[in-house]
């Protein structure tokens, strides 16, 4: 069989390059993603309520979920407002951490020397407890949002880095050879072969990082509680021994986490659908 000559490198497709095989725009309803965790959460709450009531568990150790819910809805505006602050820190950190890790991974994927130089440092930073770094970040970056965003970025970059390196390298060697044979530039190979191959890996890492970014934001807010955020609420209310408020803040955090995770899944499906369209259509 004789192939048609390829006149435009931009028309190349990369079979086996890691696209999710979805032929149609199968965007499931948002509720299909939101309901299962909500039901699970509800069942967990019922179980805890029964445990606390039947087991006569001290309210100073575990508050009743019914009390938590009552408090949550009574001050929903307050928790939502603090949640937005945490969300801002989280998304800022996620964006910076993901962008930096992806760029670094792109370089590392092309160079084993760079990999050997960079990965030990990346691992060193990863294994350093963020709580030990926060006071230093405050000194280096001041007392505003920057150190909190930096912590959220720091805690998210590693999964993205490792997955992106794997993704950028997960290309069919025959396709790579073929691209070389048609004189494709490094950029063209990256754009048309490595980047599509990495997309599933990037989304897999984002599903982890998006919740990690929330943890980073909350931990940072413990240390800089004067600026608010759900971490500050949790810290202050725990100090006041108001556990219903603590858990209500955690509930808001959970909702934000579920929403962000759902957003990542929806974005993955949208992008996968787009990548699966025939080239001519795009």
């Amino acid at each position: 069989m004789v192939s048609e000559p390829i006149s435009d490198i931009d028309q190349l497709e990369a079979p086996g390059s890691g696209r999710i095989p979805l032929a149609t725009p199968d965007i499931r309803p948002l509720l299909a993603w939101v309901l299962p965790p909500l039901i699970a959460l509800l069942l967990l709450a019922v179980a805890i309520e029964l445990w606390v009531r039947i087991g006569d568990v001290s309210i100073w150790v575990m508050p009743r979920p019914s009390g938590v819910l009552e408090n949550f809805f009574a001050d929903f505006g307050g928790y939502f407002s603090e949640g937005l602050k945490t969300l801002g820190v989280s998304l800022g950190g996620l964006a910076i951490g993901t962008a930096a890790a992806t760029l670094l991974a792109a370089g590392v994927a092309h160079s084993h020397v760079l990999e050997r130089a960079v990965l030990p440092i990346a691992i060193m930073v990863k294994v350093t407890p963020v709580v030990a770094l926060i006071p230093l970040f405050i000194i280096w970056m001041g007392h505003g949002w920057n150190p909190k965003i930096a912590i959220a970025a720091l805690i998210t970059y590693f999964p993205v880095l490792i997955n992106a390196i794997a993704g950028f390298r997960d290309v069919d060697p025959r396709m790579h050879d073929f691209f070389r044979s048609v004189d494709a530039s490094t950029w063209e190979i990256f754009r048309h072969l490595r980047l599509p191959a990495a997309v599933p890996y990037l989304f897999a890492s984002l599903k982890i990082s998006v919740t990690l970014s929330l943890i980073g934001a909350v931990v940072a807010e413990f240390f800089l509680s004067g600026q608010g955020g759900l971490g500050a609420v949790i810290w202050i209310e725990q100090n006041n021994l108001r556990l219903e408020q603590v858990f209500a803040a955690v509930l808001m955090l959970t909702l934000i986490g579920v929403t962000l995770s759902t957003a990542v899944v929806v974005a993955e499906r949208l992008l996968s659908w787009r990548l699966d369209q025939p080239v001519a259509a795009s």
Binding site: W60, P135, I138, I139, S225
Partner: protein
């Protein structure tokens, strides 16, 4: 003829007499003196092991055998950085713990926690406000227009100290600085809140800074330090009351021992400190000396160490109420119980 022994004349009487004597002996042996019975209790220090006086009193009491003298076995635990001691006390997992008086009042008022303070260590508060000598700040009045740090929450005593100088936090730039005195050295703030027994030593000895520390108490603001506290539920049990009295007797003795011989108290304390990294005993001594100094005043000299009055707590409560730290007033009759300390000092 000599009289016959009673036993011979009336064996039944002898048996009954012996049985009665045995019964009485057994009865005495079983009921005994309460103080002979070994009691156990759990103490949880509200932080990591270090030479804070309320912790040292327990370490010394254990190490010097004062608890043993009271027939008391104390399980000594530490909350570390968790703050779990506050919950565990109320859950009955811990019998006695430590908290700053202002925090104890705040939690009792704001969340209804049935805490009861039974002994007071710091006759003045644990907080101060450090400035570099090179800053030109000579009194809190000079805080106006400066960058002033706070750790999460601006303390009521700070508001009160400013008010004593005709200022409020609106007159300065308040910055949440977290827990690192280096921000003062780096001059990211010009005023840095410090734990008196700890951070001034870090700033002067480790960071080679010449500093001045302002304390709210020096400007007429009522402040108090750390208390021993139990729960109301704990006090409902007679055995627990006995335990508590023994505990306080031993720790008051250890407190006085520490005042008389702080070097020996540090030696006892060292046995409870983490070994890795090696403890800085000079720093620990600074902590202990500072807290001993703050734990002694005319009141304690007149009544005994650990003494407190309802008036002291009333004054502190009023400040906390004025600056919004307490959401409601507090029944100090229920929150304070000095009766054990009175018995100990008798």
């Amino acid at each position: 003829m000599s009289q016959m022994p009673v036993s011979v004349r009336n064996p039944l009487l002898i048996v009954l007499t012996l049985a009665a004597a045995l019964a009485v002996s057994l009865s005495i042996a079983c009921s005994g003196d309460d103080s002979d019975e070994v009691l156990t209790m759990t103490y949880m220090a509200g932080f990591v092991a270090q030479a804070n006086l309320p912790f040292v009193a327990v370490y010394v009491a254990e190490d010097q055998g004062f608890f043993a003298d009271e027939n008391l076995e104390v399980d000594i635990q530490h909350a570390g950085f968790t703050g779990a001691h506050k919950n565990l006390l109320l859950a009955g997992e811990v019998d006695i713990t430590t908290l700053p008086a202002s925090e104890m009042l705040q939690i009792r008022a704001n969340s209804g926690a049935p805490y009861v303070a039974v002994m007071l260590f710091g006759q003045r508060g644990d907080f101060g406000y450090a400035v570099l000598n090179s800053s030109g700040i000579e009194s809190p009045a000079d805080f106006a227009g400066r960058d002033v740090g706070f750790k999460g929450i601006v303390q009521s005593e700070f508001h009160a100290m400013l008010a004593a100088h005709g200022l409020s936090t609106d007159d300065m730039n308040m910055i949440d600085v977290g827990f690192n005195p280096v921000v003062l050295v780096e001059q990211q703030v010009e005023v840095y809140p410090v734990f008196l027994s700890n951070e001034p030593d870090t700033l002067t000895r480790n960071l080679n800074q010449e500093i001045t520390v302002f304390e709210a108490a020096d400007y007429g603001v009522p402040t108090l330090g750390v208390v021993y506290l139990v729960s109301e539920e704990f006090l409902e049990d007679e055995t627990n009351r006995e335990k508590l009295e023994r505990f306080l007797r031993a720790t008051v003795r250890a407190f006085e021992f520490s005042v008389d011989d702080p070097a020996a108290a540090i030696e006892s304390t060292a046995r409870f400190l983490a070994e890795d990294p090696a403890p800085d005993l000079v720093h620990e001594r600074f902590i202990l000396d500072t807290e001993i100094e703050n734990a002694l005043n005319d009141l304690t000299r007149a009544n005994g160490v650990g003494w407190f009055t309802q008036q002291q707590f009333r004054a502190l409560t009023d400040v906390l109420l004025e600056y919004g730290a307490l959401e409601t007033d507090i029944d100090l009759e229920a929150a304070l119980d000095r009766s054990f300390l009175e018995d100990v000092h008798q």
